[in-house]
């Protein structure tokens, strides 16, 4: 698994609008060659961004599914991504941010449009806050939290459309463009922030792996085995949503990785959180890097946003798992 990830890492830094051989890659990494600049500043940040984001999405999906006892739980079902999209649309349309930017090819390196990022993040936080409020103070059951997430998604979705209705063409294009998740948007700073939140999240999740395992047996048994389920649920939801919000705010919406990575691992290895948590992260990283590689090569030299590939490839994969697996 780790080897696979390393392989995809090298492949993805080697391919791009400027082709390099593996030899040249290694050369450029170690010495200062003509490719060094491209490699360090574009390819590697991109690859690392892909790995981190994929891992973050994968592990958050695994934790949300576990905590909410729902195989469909993911950053989407809880309204986090729609919240972020609304925040971004608000910044672009109402506050007029992001006008001066041109988008698209690898040549435009870093998408450092802070108002948009910050508002996207606030939008995501709003959905987290509503969900947490419901689960904490109203004592809502995991099932109703998932339902609330669906309602919240459609609420934010329609609010975004409302804004778009009154916006000019360019603004609509910018908001739509924002929703195309693209790991090329991240630079070193973004990657660092993603890395730190991811690290905090996965550390907490991994330390609680036995507690998550106990959750399978229902709340009563979990309580009697010494798990404070309320706090566990709250912190896990908060951290997983936070990790995802950070990624989404920087990169835009990247579908299906968070949903499908844990399912693949469950299919291959099983339910035990001792393995499910780290491997979902690895699987997410692998899938996202692979998708990004495909996104950049399939219609080369056009670089597709990776979000399109993940959603496009994710759905059939999901069907396959559904058919192959007896139980979820």
């Amino acid at each position: 698994m780790i080897l696979l990830l390393i392989a995809i890492f090298f492949i993805s830094i080697a391919f791009g609008s400027i082709k390099m051989s593996l030899e040249e890659v290694i050369n450029a990494l170690l010495r200062n060659s003509e490719y060094s600049y491209v490699l360090w500043n574009i390819r590697i940040t991109r690859a690392i961004g892909g790995i981190l984001t994929g891992a973050a999405l994968g592990v958050s999906g695994a934790v949300m599914q576990k905590v909410l006892k729902n195989p469909l739980a993911s950053p989407f079902t809880l309204g986090v991504s729609h919240g972020a999209a609304f925040g971004a649309a608000f910044a672009i349309i109402v506050l007029g941010a992001g006008k001066s930017h041109s988008f698209g090819s690898e040549a435009v390196t870093i998408f450092n449009n802070y108002p948009v990022v910050i508002f996207a993040f606030l939008g995501a936080l709003t959905s987290i806050a509503i969900i947490l409020f419901l689960s904490c103070f109203k004592g809502a059951s995991p099932e109703s939290i998932v339902l609330a997430g669906v309602a919240l998604s459609s609420l934010f979705g329609s609010a975004t459309m409302f804004l778009q209705y009154f916006a000019d063409d360019f603004q609509v294009a910018a908001t739509v463009f924002w929703t195309f998740g693209d790991i090329g948007k991240a630079g070193w700073l973004e990657n660092k922030i993603i890395f730190i939140t991811f690290l905090v999240g996965i550390t907490y999740f991994y330390l609680n792996r036995w507690n998550f395992n106990v959750l399978f047996w229902g709340d009563e048994i979990a309580k009697s085995l010494g798990v404070n389920i309320k706090i566990l649920r709250l912190i896990s939801m908060f951290l997983s949503a936070l990790v995802v919000s950070v990624c989404i705010s920087f990169l835009g919406i990247i579908g299906f990785v968070g949903l499908i990575s844990p399912h693949i691992i469950r299919f291959l290895i099983g339910d035990d959180c001792r393995f499910l948590i780290p491997y979902s992260a690895l699987m997410g990283a692998f899938l996202l890097c692979l998708s990004d590689f495909i996104a950049r090569t399939i219609l080369s030299p056009v670089v597709l946003p990776v979000g399109i590939i993940t959603s496009f490839a994710g759905a059939p994969m999901f069907f396959y798992l559904l058919i192959k697996r007896r139980r979820f």
Partner: protein, 251 residues
């Protein structure tokens, strides 16, 4: 030692148990008996802090359970709920190992694994060890869950209708094991049962509940036809057979 003092508890605004005070001693098996809905499960849940009493206090070694952390409580009390369902797909071994959860700091130690193996041996689950719990029969799963409760090495064992789904042989063997462990390790075992004859055979003390209250309590000698008739509203006779008692239907 376990003491319950003047407990009222329930769900929402409804009280399901009222003014219950009881005292439990080490090394004894207590049977909680009573009709459906009389509050037996509610009482067990209150003892394990799964629901919070509206009034009254549960003391373990003179300490209020509300002041004990869940983790600390889990080292003292094991609880088997009446209704069990799982979406887990772990093996029997891993499931029983979860009973060691309160003791696991990072990963299970060698002793934890040994203990689980030992319990698997006692329960005759050896050939099931690596079976998936989702694929067990009702009775097999029940045995695994009782084993998990024992793996917790509790000082107080709360079992809500533990012999549900078990065949007569397994019912007798499990109750035998529980009785033996209770007196050998000096723990307190509280079992909710509906089979009165098995209760008479294996429990040391009997607590009868009706409509959320204690109707009667005492040892085997204190049990008469009258109590059973009034608690369950049925017509039965109690026969003395050797040192035990036997319930027969009297229509």
């Amino acid at each position: 030692m376990l003491e319950i003092s003047n407990i009222c508890a329930g769900y929402g605004n409804k009280l399901s148990i009222k003014n219950i005070s009881l005292h439990f001693n080490k090394g004894n098996v207590y049977a909680i008996l009573g009709p459906n809905g009389s509050g037996k499960s509610t009482l067990l849940k209150t003892i394990d802090k799964i629901i919070k009493p509206k009034e009254g206090v549960v003391y373990i070694n003179k300490e209020d359970v509300q002041n004990l952390s869940r983790k600390k409580l889990a080292k003292n009390i094991a609880y088997l709920p009446q209704k069990n369902s799982t979406s887990a797909s772990s093996t029997v071994f891993e499931t029983i190992l979860l009973g060691r959860k309160p003791y696991i700091i990072f990963e299970p130690r060698q002793e934890d694994l040994k203990l689980v193996e030992n319990i698997i041996y006692i329960f005759g689950l050896k050939y099931f060890s690596f079976r998936n719990v989702g694929e067990l029969s009702g009775g097999e799963l029940q045995k695994v869950l009782i084993a998990r409760a024992l793996a917790q090495q509790p000082k107080i064992l709360l079992l809500d209708e533990p012999i549900n789904h078990l065949d007569p042989k397994n019912q007798i063997e499990i109750l035998k094991v529980l009785k033996k462990i209770t007196s050998e390790l000096g723990i307190i075992t509280i079992i909710v049962l509906h089979d009165l004859n098995l209760a008479f055979k294996f429990a040391d003390y009997f607590i009868f509940m009706k409509q959320g209250k204690i109707y009667a309590k005492g040892d085997l000698s204190s049990i008469e036809d009258k109590i059973i008739k009034e608690v369950y509203d049925i017509r039965v006779k109690i026969l003395n057979v050797g040192r035990s008692k036997l319930l027969v239907i009297d229509e």
